[in-house]
């Protein structure tokens, strides 16, 4: 019991003492002067470097200081919107000094004077304003020597994502090489396994001035590989692999590779607690730049050396060791190995007496799927002997510098001997069976061979003549129709063999159909009915079967139908009746009957009035 009472007393006393200390502390601060200062470091920076803006509040605890907003800046790009905050607690002369420091990272964007406008800090409701700051920005001194991660203006800053989580690493196989020696530069993307990326693309340009460049193949859809570096586990992907060949000695720079991507980090709520995924935010990451030193090749290059650097194997073959005069023989040199094959010039070949040596044909086969550029280059020389006998072909020599052995090497092919038969002058020296020269272009052509065309000829679809030509069929139709109308105009002399008018033809269509089917009886019946219907229509009464031939003749005479036409009409009608009532006894072919019916109708048409015409005067 005593023990319990004593304990309560002790707790109560402790609480009183601690409260007194807190009150004293809380009351001591207001009496001190609050001092707010801003500082930029460094004040001389290059484009792309980082400038730290630090605002220090002395004389006030962090609990009474409002977190300030980043002031507006000129030519400085903020790397973060929310400042890093650090509290200060120090005891000096027995007094407790408290304060808080806010800091931002800024990046100079262009050369010149950069400014940071005054910044306002509110401490216990009272505003304190700093002085404006200036930073002198110089031009970029060179490529950054470390990977960077930047965010575009206005993007939110994901605290779970920084350059240690996501970066591009550039690595060269060697930083000190000989001129024209191959060096492989590889750019790999490193990102922590918890990070997700999307919409990645190369940003800006990449260049390597002073180098001949040959791209090596990398997977278009690579599978990330897990690696540990600096004590951390990363997923890595090779972005670019390029073979560089220095074209001149000196210190040469290789640009950093930049990509833009959208990254999603993992927001950790508390230590060892649950974690949530943040939003995808756009970031730009860049590798470090590289600086390579290219050394001049050592002295003492052999005469056959023409700049080749690497490791090569040389094979030389002759197509044949015997030939006849004028027959082409191919001498082939194949250079295979690792090095800059693209710029490898053909070895020079001295022309032996009485053998013509033509410029070689060159074929290059470069393999880009390995870790280095390698391949084969083949030079095929065409030799044409001019005289018979034994000819020692030229020696082919190829020299190169081996950077591993640090010395020059020379391959010499044994000069093959060519035995040539025949002594007479060649008829077709260096020519193929088609008469075309071997190892040269075909001769120029004579003026008589030229078939001239205009160079300003337009494609068919753009030529106006094309569309004008399309009018030709229409003109033909128009001209034909006009010609027919002219021929069939009233008053023109009728011809028994000319086609009937469309109206008459339409009348006889049924007869024509029967004729095509071979139904003769129906054909004659249709012709007879057509003629009778026509007469009934034009004479305004029943057909000729219903009236005696004399009555019909009187009607026709009244309309001045000539005797020959009347006889032709009666002849057609009689033949139709004859064929109907005595089939097989027709003395005239159905085609002739049809033609005559056409002619009769065509001639009667103008003679007999139409039903709507005024009646003729009797």
């Amino acid at each position: 019991m005593w023990t319990a009472q004593s304990m309560l007393v002790r707790i109560a006393m402790s609480a009183v003492v601690m409260g007194a200390v807190c009150v004293e502390g809380g009351q001591a601060q207001p009496n001190r002067t609050v001092r707010v200062t801003a500082e930029a470091d460094p004040t001389d920076a290059a484009v792309g470097e980082t400038v730290h803006l630090t605002v220090r509040v002395d004389g006030a605890p962090a609990t009474v200081v409002q977190t300030p907003e980043l002031p507006s800046t000129t030519h400085l790009e903020p790397q973060q919107r929310t400042p890093q905050t650090r509290q200060i607690r120090a005891s000096r002369g027995g007094r407790l000094r408290q304060g808080v420091v806010f800091s931002w990272r800024l990046r100079p964007r262009q050369q010149g004077a950069a400014r940071i406008q005054p910044l306002t800090v509110v401490v216990r409701g009272k505003q304190y304003t700093t002085a404006p700051l200036r930073v002198r920005v110089s031009a970029r001194t060179g490529a950054p020597d470390a990977p960077t991660l930047t965010r575009p203006d206005g993007a939110s800053s994901d605290p779970s994502l920084d350059v240690r989580d996501l970066f591009i690493r550039a690595r060269a196989t060697d930083d000190r090489v000989y001129q024209n020696e191959q060096v492989i530069v590889e750019y790999s993307l490193f990102y922590r396994p918890r990070i997700r990326l999307r919409r990645s693309r190369v940003a800006g340009s990449w260049d390597a001035p002073g180098f001949w460049r040959e791209e090596l193949d990398v997977a278009a859809r690579p599978t990330p590989q897990r690696r540990r570096t600096d004590g951390q586990t990363y997923e890595t992907v090779v972005l670019k692999r390029v073979a560089l060949f220095p074209t001149r000695p000196g210190t040469l720079r290789v640009d950093p590779l930049r990509i833009e991507t959208e990254a999603q980090g993992r927001m950790r709520m508390q230590e060892d607690g649950p974690s949530l995924r943040g939003r995808f935010e756009p970031v730009q990451i860049a590798s470090e730049g590289l600086s390579l030193t290219a050394r001049s090749l050592p002295e003492g290059a052999p005469p056959a050396f023409d700049g080749a650097v690497g490791q090569f194997v040389v094979r030389t073959t002759a197509e044949a060791d015997s030939a006849s005069v004028g027959e082409a023989v191919t001498l082939t040199m194949q250079v295979e190995g690792t090095g800059n094959l693209a710029t490898l010039p053909p070895p020079s070949v001295e022309s032996p007496p009485d053998v013509e040596v033509y410029e070689p044909t060159v074929e290059t086969d470069i393999e880009r799927d390995g870790s280095r550029i390698r391949g084969t280059k083949t030079f095929a020389y065409t030799l044409v002997p001019r005289s018979g006998g034994r000819h020692d072909l030229p020696t082919l020599a190829f020299s190169y510098f081996d950077p591993d052995a640090k010395r020059y090497k020379t391959h010499r092919a044994e000069p093959p001997t060519l035995y040539v038969s025949g002594q007479e002058g060649p008829r077709a020296v260096g020519r193929t069976s088609d008469g075309l020269p071997v190892g040269d272009v075909a001769d120029a052509r004579e003026a008589s061979e030229a078939q001239w065309v205009r160079t300003d000829r337009r494609p068919l679809y753009r030529s106006a003549w094309t569309y004008l030509a399309l009018l030709v069929p229409a003109l033909i139709v128009g001209a034909g129709v006009a010609y027919r109308r002219w021929r069939d105009r009233p008053g023109s002399s009728p011809d028994e063999t000319t086609p009937a008018l469309d109206e008459d033809r339409d009348r006889l269509q049924e007869a024509c159909r029967h004729l095509r089917r071979g139904a003769d009886a129906s054909f004659y019946d249709a012709v007879g009915r057509t003629l009778r219907a026509f007469l009934a229509e034009r004479l305004g009464r029943a057909g000729p079967n219903d009236v005696p031939r004399t009555v019909l003749d009187r009607h026709l005479l009244r309309h001045d139908v000539p005797a020959d036409l009347r006889n032709a009409l009666y002849d057609v009608l009689d033949r139709c009746d004859e064929a109907r009532y005595a089939p097989g006894s027709a003395s005239v072919s159905p085609e002739d009957v049809l033609a005559n019916a056409h002619a009769v109708l065509r001639r009667l048409g103008p003679q007999l009035p139409r039903p709507d015409d005024p009646a003729p005067r009797s």
């Binding site: 088609d434 061979e449 160079t455």
Partner: protein, 248 residues
């Protein structure tokens, strides 16, 4: 028939000047040829170019111009000239031989850039020939339509005789125009500058994907300012300075 003769005669008058061989052009060609024969290749090339500038061309002219460029070691322009010549005379063995020779000598891939899509279908077609056949068929159909009427021979046969040629003619004319359009869209160009960089973007500072040799055939697609986006291989695309190209 008289009408047909008049129409064909008129067409002949229209197209015959294109097949004529101007005397003065032959003279200029002869002068250029003489300069070439005397190994004055620069002058020969100038004279051949002047002929082209005057609006006249022939496969022989392009052949000789290409030869002059070969002698002057201007590989890209030589390939351009030979390729232009092949457009006028696709089956010329000498042009083909010269092209193969210059490509072998320069280490260029043999063969050009094969056309794709419809261009591959109509490659080698002659729209003019198709159009001519189509027009003849149309004219034949028009004659049949006009003179189809006659005693005893009218309606039985005119439909297939008239409308068959008209339909075939219209189809051929449409195919000819379509082939002409597709062929005109299949553009090719030759790299004529030395070691031309193929860049990833239309800017001098853009990264260089590869370097193209003079004489390399490319397919220009898009133009932007002084840059042209080109297709080099089946998949390789990039930007190249327009001045480094000469269209075939």
């Amino acid at each position: 028939m008289r009408l047909l003769a008049v129409v064909l005669g008129g067409l002949g008058l229209v197209v015959s000047p294109a097949w004529g061989q101007p005397f003065s052009v032959s003279q200029q060609f002869g002068a250029a040829h003489e300069a070439y024969a005397h190994a004055q290749y620069e002058e020969a090339a100038e004279r051949y170019r002047a002929l082209l500038d005057s609006g006249h061309a022939s496969a022989a002219l392009y052949h000789n111009l290409g030869n002059a460029y070969v002698r002057l070691n201007r590989t890209g322009e030589a390939v351009w000239a030979y390729e232009r010549g092949r457009r006028l005379q696709s089956e010329g063995p000498r042009l083909q031989h010269n092209l193969e020779y210059i490509r072998r000598r320069a280490g260029l891939p043999q063969g050009g850039l094969p056309p794709t899509g419809l261009g591959a279908v109509v490659a080698g077609w002659s729209p003019l020939v198709l159009f001519g056949i189509g027009m003849l068929a149309l004219c034949a159909g028009a004659f049949g339509a006009v003179f189809r009427v006659g005693p005893g021979r009218s309606v039985a046969w005119y439909a297939p005789i008239v409308w068959g040629p008209v339909g075939a003619g219209l189809l051929l004319v449409a195919v000819a125009l379509g082939a002409s359009y597709v062929q005109a869209q299949e553009r090719r160009a030759v790299v004529v500058s030395e070691a031309t960089p193929l860049r990833s973007a239309p800017a001098d500072t853009a990264s260089v994907d590869t370097t193209l040799r003079p004489g390399r055939i490319v397919e220009p697609n898009t133009k932007r300012d002084k840059w042209a986006r080109v297709r080099v291989g089946a998949e390789t695309k990039g930007w190249i300075a327009s001045r480094a190209l000469r269209e075939i």
